[in-house]
Symmetry: C2
Subunit: 174 residues, 2 copies
């Protein structure tokens, strides 16, 4: 347990805020923690009737490279995780799903951020019309099981939430 002594908001941005917190440790000593506040997010493992998984290819500024990830997005104020997942799947990929299941909610990096990602399984997909945000330049593709199984297990996928959704689904499906 740590007691918060002082909080200093360094930056409040569109998505993130950064806070510096002085805390009192159990030992009686003091230290500082840098904390990134995040609104929380969802990520969706969408599987069609052939058992194919929907992945997105997207350029990630933070990494300076493109990645394959499952569809995902940030929570709007007061939005439930399920509503957010349904909205993001439709916006980014054009798909609705008739069947939804919550898989897990995980912290991406509890050492410095409160970001939580709610992972969902979406099945019984229906194609509608995509409507991505102007700053989301996304290519989508369905991967057959014979294609994605080796992908996941041979380290081609490097995005944490994508791997976690896949593994949690495999774990619960057993």
């Amino acid at each position: 347990m740590e007691k918060r002594l002082k909080q200093n908001m360094i930056y409040q941005g569109n998505v993130l805020s950064l806070e510096k917190v002085e805390v009192l440790l159990a030992s009686g000593r003091k230290t500082e923690r840098e904390i990134v506040h995040h609104p929380g997010a969802v990520a969706i493992l969408a599987i069609n009737e052939k058992g194919e998984i929907l992945l997105e290819r997207q350029y990630r500024s933070a990494l300076k490279e493109s990645t394959w990830e499952i569809p995902a997005g940030k929570l709007e104020p007061n939005e439930s995780p399920l509503k957010c997942a349904q909205r993001e799947l439709l916006e980014e990929t054009g798909y609705e799903a008739a069947q939804w299941q919550h898989l897990h909610s995980i912290y991406t990096s509890p050492g410095f951020t409160d970001e939580v990602v709610h992972l969902f399984l979406a099945e019984k997909l229906l194609l509608r019309k995509a409507n991505p945000e102007f700053d989301e330049e996304i290519t989508i593709r369905f991967f057959r099981q014979s294609d994605w199984e080796p992908y996941f297990c041979t380290k081609e996928i490097v995005d944490g939430k994508t791997l976690l959704a896949f593994y949690t689904w495999k774990c619960h499906a057993r």
Copy 2:
């Protein structure tokens, strides 16, 4: 692909830095990205000869709660991931391991941070002496397979890297 137009360093801290980047999208429009730079980290799935997994209980300021996580820590400048994993395991838990294997390197949240976590499997453990940093107040415990298997699959573990190390190990062990 996005072209970087302007970069503005907002904050440089002990651990993190925060940068605001203006980018040119493929469409010709501009947008801003908030990026948290992180030195990178390691996390260690340490398993003893009884097949028990070593977990740490630690208070996480960002979450305002305590979590069960595998041992982990940040890379020092010019430190290799393996050296870092060996150092962190010893410092935090008092254990050395005679056998090391790299499991995967994953991005924790590529939408806003370049943090990469290198996941290792450590086996053939030898007890030496722990020497945690003054601001790390940690309790360690070995979990038997009968205890941790349900833990992982019933959502008691909420830390991404811990789940990822466990699942990657299970995947590669098959």
